[in-house]
Symmetry: C2
């Protein structure tokens, strides 16, 4: 019996289990549902014990001052002590379900319809976590062994939809237990159901609010206009100067650490069946693509850093005219970062730029939204990614392409703290309506995902610890 | 007996009359006080009849659809039918008195204290209107004649503090009755009590709201940032481009009609005892002056046109970060204009600039706040201004200098519709707290003003109609 047959046999039980889990409204952002997040962790722990994991633990997070929600950890050691260790990341909390009125069926009463399973969390991320319990059972059943070919650790977080506030601390506290040779992340999407793909990286972010202050009160522009600096002028000039004429970010040194796309990566991205008209329609019916000169749209949003003005305000913003020189101007800006940019360096460059761009008579202040998020990358040439690709190709029976993600979760922390390469193996789709009403998952893609997971352990075992360690993220390995 | 002696003799009665008028709260902006504006017009009409004006009329303004508040018209023909005709402009409505708690004595209970008369309207503009009734009586008394040396028309508006919404129509409807050779405006300020001065012009204004639209919804900047045009970027670039590196307004053709300051005008402005530290303190404690390269602060605010951003907003303006590409960006901008700029031409130039500056994928809209206000000028070399200066110098016994005003009232309409040169003869001070609590007027300056007014009619008669007509605002006469 092969992996695919086993999975088809187990499918009914797999979906019944998943639906049982999806009933639990584990909404981490809503304190009224925190007991459900705990119930979700209990359910998963019991399920993993039943699957056969010899070690299953619920890990509390946070501290007395800042209580957190539990993660679930499980470990199934390989028979061979020399086999690589894999750490699988996912999360068991879900987004809020509002607006409830827009759901065709209640968000926590899972419904099957036309090959789709509809429920909050079906795709993001409970369905994709469950892929691994089915995958490991298939792997063992087909091989007829009692232990997997690699040591499999699962770390299933309970606060991802709330910004993972305690996740980095958890990783550092438990780094010993989590030690691994490769990290598998199952919380992203593929290009399309018929275009299987893997994510090659996620952009980081630095966000800040800039305040410029001039006179200590709004001034009448008839009396003073043209004689004193106007903070809104200064802000407009400062913001306009964030980009050069090629729409490149003009902060000094901004691109110094940016890892350039290779010819191979660009070729692979170009093979995706991208339709700019459809993409623009998704982009709020934007009328035209725009961005850094010399790059395609997909390169721009996945593999190139950006600066965006997210908001700005100052002076008179109500109805009618009011001819003033306003006292203050404000802007919120954010930068999307790619490997190997450092959020702290970009923050420092922004601070210097603001200081240098502020004219005499204006005071400037820059306040950052936390320390920022590091970008992470999972290069096509990495041995771990190649193993993942082979597993995916066996499951899907067709070539696997590569995509990227414009934003980040806690993946950069994982790679940083555990010092291991990332592989994104996931079967969600952009059309899954995650974070929106009527979230769904394609049931046959979950089964394909389980098949890929089953193959993945054998592929990673074949690469071996030394082979996986060869991916040291040095330019030579990109 | 000379003019000064006569005026000193009449001073007590003059101030008692003025105080009677100041009791009437003729607040044009407050519908609850519109009956007081009417009572104020009645009071003034009676006062002018008592002064000796043979023709005194109350002129209703507005229409059934847009009812207005009354102006007062009076005419005292010269004995000599060849004598010039002067039209004196002022207003009898006042600003609201709020915040009432900040007045040391009630705003409509005039109080004399240390040579100052405190009441709403004492300086702006009832005191300055009354200057003319005392001035004309002094002129006649000293000459011993029954008719003035010029035909004197008074036009005292009742809606100036509400933006003079019906004034231009009134001027056009009554242009025949108002026909004149020179317009005297008594509604401005001097540099200081010991630095008598005359205003040489007022800046006009064009105000607009610019809207830039991109996607039809805010987009997640992780998913789309760097791939679609951001309306806030476009707005920042558009606004930054309104000025060049010398802080000159960069709209094409903006300066084409600007009448350059003459060497004489610059020299006269430079003789004002200007203290930049004091000026900056008045300017909301601005830390530095700024503006168009090559001009002094006073030149910049009085005699040079500007572009100001009065407000801007778009995207996320609340607390915390929100990494979006926003759907819209908005800005309110205004331009201060100087002679001979045309509001309509500047509006057209702005519209073209916005169109040319808007990148592909963004829609732009420009909405103007009405047709704008024309600038007006009263050049130092004009025969009417020279006559006014001689009258002022006789009254004050010292050299009279020149200033400007950064903003405008209805003066440009007067000059335009009546096609006559403007002379600004006024004795208000910037320290009079007009539009603020504790408005006051310097009582001795009102008497000096009456003295100047008494001399003015004789000076203008001496110039004669032909002489006044020589000021045709052509470059040769500047």
């Amino acid at each position: 019996m092969d992996v695919g047959d086993y999975i088809q046999q187990q499918a009914r039980g797999f979906f019944d289990d998943l639906k049982e889990w999806l009933v639990i409204p584990s909404i981490s952002a809503d304190p009224g549902h925190h007991h459900d997040v705990r119930a979700s962790a209990e359910w998963l722990a019991a399920h993993l014990r039943a699957t056969g994991f010899p070690e299953v633990e619920i890990w509390e997070t946070g501290s007395e001052d800042s209580p957190g929600l539990p993660a679930v950890f499980a470990c199934w050691p390989a028979a061979d002590p020399q086999a690589p260790t894999v750490c699988v990341y996912g999360h068991h909390d879900v987004q809020p379900a509002e607006p409830l009125g827009e759901w065709d069926s209640p968000p926590f009463e899972p419904a099957e319809r036309d090959g789709q399973l509809l429920a909050r969390g079906a795709s993001d991320d409970k369905g994709q976590v469950m892929v691994h319990s089915l995958g490991i059972r298939a792997c063992l059943a087909v091989a007829g062994t009692a232990a997997p070919p690699v040591t499999i650790k699962l770390l299933i977080e309970g606060e991802e939809e709330s910004g993972s506030p305690h996740f980095a601390d958890l990783l550092r506290d438990r780094a010993g237990r989590l030690a691994c040779d490769v990290i598998v992340v199952s919380d992203t999407t593929m290009w399309a159901a018929d275009v299987p793909s893997m994510c090659t990286g996620m952009r980081g972010v630095v966000a800040a609010e800039i305040t410029l202050r001039g006179p200590d009160t709004d001034l009448h522009s008839g009396s003073f206009g043209g004689g004193v600096p106007n903070p809104l002028h200064a802000m407009a000039a400062l913001l306009a100067g964030l980009h050069d004429k090629d729409s490149r970010v003009a902060l000094p040194g901004f691109y110094d650490r940016v890892v350039a796309l290779t010819r191979q990566e660009r070729d692979l991205l170009a093979r995706l069946p991208y339709d700019e008209k459809l993409w623009l329609a998704d982009a709020g019916h934007s009328q035209a693509a725009a961005g850094e000169a010399g790059f395609t749209t997909l390169e721009r949003i996945w593999a190139r850093p950006t600066a965006e003005i997210n908001g700005m305000w100052g002076g008179h913003t109500g109805p009618g005219g009011k001819t003033i020189v306003p006292r203050e101007a404000h802007a919120k800006v954010s930068f999307r970062l790619v490997a190997d940019q450092e959020p702290g360096e970009v923050a420092a460059a922004l601070r210097e730029y603001v200081t240098a761009s502020t004219p005499p008579g204006i005071d400037a202040e820059v306040a950052f939204e936390g320390p920022g998020v590091r970008p992470c990358s999972s290069p096509v040439t990495s041995p771990a990614v190649q193993a993942g690709r082979r597993a995916m190709e066996r499951a899907f029976g067709r070539e696997v392409l590569f995509t990227g993600e414009g934003g980040s979760g806690p993946e950069a922390d994982l790679a940083e703290v555990l010092a291991a390469p990332l592989v994104f193996v996931a079967v969600g789709l952009d059309s899954d309506r995650i974070h929106a009403p009527n979230e769904k998952v394609e049931m046959d893609l979950l089964l394909k995902g389980a098949e890929a997971a089953a193959h993945l352990w054998r592929e990673l075992a074949a690469v071996g610890r030394a082979g996986l360690a060869g991916d040291d993220r040095s330019p030579a390995n990109r």
